[in-house]
Amino acid sequence: MAKDMQEQDAEVVARLSGISKSFASVAALTDVDVTFRAGEVHAILGENGAGKSTLMNIICGVLRPDAGTIEIGGQSLNHLTPATAVAAGIAISYQHPAILDDLSVIENLKVALPSAVFDDDPRGVAQGILQSVGLEIPLDLRCDTLTVAQKQLLEIGKTLALKPRLLILDEPTASLDQDSTDLLFARIREVTAAGTGVIYITHRLAEIRQIAQHVTVLRDGKVRGGGRVDAVSNEDLLRLIVGRTLESTFPPKITEPGAPILVVHNLTGRGFRNVSFEAGRGEIIGIAGVQGNGQTQLARALAGLQPFEGDIRIGTEAFPQSRLLDQTAYMPADRHAEGLAGDLTIRENAALSALDRFASMGIMNRTREMEHVGRTFASLAVKAPSIEAAVSSLSGGNQQKVVMARALLAEPRMIIADEPTQGVDVGARAEIYRILREVSASGTPVVVNSSDAVELQGLCDKVLVLSRGRVVEALTGEEVREDRIVSAAVSAATHDDHAMGGQGVARVKRSGWRHLAQLDNAPAVPLLGVIVLLAVFGYSQNPHFLSPLNLSNILLLATALGFVALGQTVPLMLGAIDLSVGPLMGLGVMIASFFILDESSAGTIVLGFVLILAMAVVIGLVNGFLIRFANFTAIAATLAMFIGLQGVAFLFRDAPGGYITYPVTEVITMKLGPVPVAFLVLVALAFLSEYMLRGTRSGIRLRALGSSAESARRIGVNTDRVFIGGYVISALFAALGSVMLMAQIGVGDPAQGANYTLASITAVVLGGTSLKGGRGTFLGSVLGALLLTEVLSLVTFLGLSQTYQYVFQGTLILAAALIYSAARGRAAD
């Protein structure tokens, strides 16, 4: 029986029946039936918000449907989990690629793909993956230099390498040029010929004709139709896509536009080119297009948030960028990120852009503020429990009204509304439309960017449709209809012509120098140079500076700092920080002063060392847990730990006492010639850590997490475990540092150790690790520790006062920070 079923449905990869899903009682999908077959490209078509991404998320197990069944390879399931979906051979390439900027190309492949993919020749396999999508880039290139198109291709390459049974491609060509698109299509034909089922999500009708055999159209979360591509016409498809219901009423449009009040001429900027339009008094301008075709950038340029070339005139005056920023009001699409300060109250948010008007001589006049804000709120019908409530407590619609109130209070020369009704309930929508219309009628130009064609049809008098950054259609008056807008947006066949910021080039030539300078370990070379120069300088001033005695002293001191610095490198690479390492070292010495004494037996001494390590593990775990699970910031958690550990140290002894036994100290400070063995161990550990960091999966995962937590999660990194593990490693290295410290001071002193926290951060920063996370170098940290110790010794040797010691320290760290940030080119972002 089972065998019969399989034979009968052999070509079905996945079958969805009666799938429904709603979010907060809003239906995203209703009773969806789709069947995906092997060896076939099945296109899913629909406008933004039609339910495409919800459907994809259900197929790859990210979302659980409310009702319906999923049948994969003949097995019926209520729902999938991401793991079972992967096991069933489902792979998805997202529109926004999960490529980690701080990792190299090959590392991105290694961290995202199961090791089985690579066999014994990782580089060969990786090269093959690149070739499969036509990428000619060096394997060791860091991904922050890749263009969006290259990242997209890499993402697709990753998915193809999994050899999936069902491959989901979410608008894969959005940023690709013609050559890359052709290559991708060729690859898709190959994999379908080999029996893979492909789900292809797109907005472009032309592409469907080129690549797909089957098409399904979604609208308002329901299947509206579809079938074999050669059996449906473009007109049929368009009819299925449009006709969305929008339960909202629109204010009447103007009948007779006034004289031009906004003139935009030949506007070019990142993401858009040669945009020109005029708006008459009372006209609302709409910007339309498939998402990601330059609409957002155009809106931001109009608001003065992005540089541009060309002319913008309002009335008769020219508006350069700075004036636009100052005198126009921008209503952002992402209210939380760019619109409102969630911490502040409704009143504070609304009044923010017009504070000057409520103040005399810089001092706020509360009554005037209340009056104006209150009047504006009343006219907008803002519903809130109190004007002093936190703005984050409001519904989406009312939050948007607060943004509007702020815009109106500023008395702007132009209003730019980016997706003004996203996340806004039906009732508030109508009011927002009414207000925009009133503003426009009063003579202030209004520009609306919206991905909702029905909204544009209802609201706007003129609509510009963008494709690949160019205006492909300008609709006015009666032409402003949903079908015209959608048709213009999806029918445009223009492909990226390399004009938009040079995207779409699939090749990168390796320029040797720049590549070398960008390596994580690059700072090691100049650092070593500085260390040697200083040594030579010290020697020229006083030959004893390089005497075996002083040399081994410097190295010994540098070893203690070096161990902590190695540890500190890990949290910093995670984009966090560990302030507790200093007191942890002190506490280690404290433990030693009870267990590692002259009278202690060998067993007790061993126990002492074990206890030190155990303590470190516990502290690392507590730090990690506080940050990951109790929502502490890294600074807060490790600061509390810092103070607590200091207290514990004083609990053991409130004055120095407990002399560490000499034989142990002797072993710790053992030398080979002038070089302490411990220093050699430090260097060996640094190299080992380097190897682990770059050569092993866990190391790459660590850097992936530091680079972007979101992308790391998407490619399957267990972020909590890696993060907490990082803190344990940091604590363990600090424990090693405490072993060095116990030999140095020889006695349990509760006041010792704390200084190492800041010193360790200084050393790591000197070494070239970025506090932004994702990049770091253990070798650099060791060299940083060495340099710092050398400078201190040099100051003493030259008989300079402590003033110089601090001057050198301060200058070194600031200079290093400035040089590194300039070298990374991230200084001015």
């Binding site: 504070e348 000057d356 810089g362 706020m364 006062s801």
Partner: protein, 336 residues
């Protein structure tokens, strides 16, 4: 006016004067502590004990206010010790006991503070260096100044400064009055001036502030400048109160300065600042030590209690209690 819901009524109401959750939290904790003191360690509340400890609470409060301004902007200032210590040594070394030279010394200290703050601000706000790195470096440079001025040797403070900083009016130490006055200034500027309101908004959401055209960088620079000025004020007071201030007077203030900011409810991620709560938190922390001392706890236990209080304080503010509640009451739903 509108159907259903609650329309925003009572526009003129002065509900903004209602205390914030942060203020209530720290005030209630302080009251509980006072009650505990009264019951278990009445000696901590005697005039003698209070007049001994309040000046230090006042100094911590002033430093905390400075740190708060920086933390509000999402920053972090590790140059507290250097800033405080430099003011201390300038005020005690430059006049060398001569009252007439005191005004010059104060002016000199203020100029140093302004320069240090400006450099911090430019490095962090404009050159976008990490705040931790930049202020570690600045701290070292300030200490270089400390040693250049003092050579590391303490010197007795001038009579005039001692009487200004250490005097009393109606039994209240001048330092406490200074702290209250500075708090009033910070509070007024922050809550009732255009610059202050913008400052808060920029800390709460720099991106949104830039989107409406506010000068984000200038305000961030100002945070570091004003912080140094406050550290300088604290340093001058220390120089007056302590008979023979050392060169490292500021060191012990760094961690408590962060602690009082956090206990006061200001998020280390930036956002709204709570000056009044910060100052109360400084009193709370000082009283906590006093309490521990009075019940006979050793120094170690005092420190551990402080750490626990800090951890507890962070937990109160940063745990998303509602999120936690839903986590335990219903299964989580992943939204796409």
């Amino acid at each position: 006016m509108q159907e259903g819901g609650y329309f925003l009524a009572g526009i003129g109401s002065r509900r903004s004067l209602r205390p914030t959750r942060e203020l209530v939290t720290v005030a209630v904790s302080t009251l509980v502590l006072i009650l505990l003191c009264a019951l278990l360690a009445p000696s901590a509340l005697t005039y003698g004990a209070l007049s001994g400890s309040l000046p230090f609470a006042a100094i911590l409060a002033i430093v905390g206010l400075g740190q708060m301004l920086v933390v509000q902007q999402g920053g972090f200032d590790l140059s507290v010790p250097g800033g405080v210590s430099l003011a201390v040594v300038i005020a005690s070394h430059y006049p060398a006991g001569d009252d007439a030279l005191l005004p010059t010394a104060v002016a000199l200290a203020l100029v140093c503070a302004l320069v240090a703050g400006l450099v911090n601000g430019v490095l962090i706000g404009i050159l976008r260096l990490n705040a931790i790195i930049a202020t570690i470096g600045m701290n070292a440079l300030l200490y270089a100044g400390v040693f250049a001025v003092s050579g590391g040797v303490p010197r007795i403070t001038t009579q005039l400064l001692a009487s200004i900083a250490g005097g009393e009016i109606f039994g209240i130490g001048h330092s406490v009055l200074f702290a209250v006055a500075l708090l009033a200034v910070v509070w007024f500027v922050m809550k009732h001036t255009v610059a202050g309101r913008r400052f808060e908004a920029i800390g709460a959401n720099p991106l949104a502030s830039r989107a409406i055209g506010l000068p984000v960088k200038q305000h961030q620079v100002m945070a570091y400048v004003l912080a140094q000025v406050l550290y300088c004020c604290a340093g001058l007071l220390i120089a007056g109160i302590t008979t023979q201030p050392t060169a490292f007077q500021g060191d012990s203030l760094l961690l408590p300065s962060v602690a009082v900011v956090v206990l006061g409810g200001t998020s280390l991620l930036g956002g709204r600042g709570f000056p009044v709560s910060t100052v109360i938190a400084a009193f709370f922390l000082t009283l906590l030590s006093q309490f521990a001392l009075s019940v006979g706890l050793p120094y170690s236990a005092q420190t551990i209690i402080q750490a626990l209080a800090l951890g507890f304080g962070i937990a109160v503010y940063s745990l998303r209690w509602t999120a936690l509640k839903t986590l335990f009451t219903s299964s989580r739903e992943v939204k796409g």
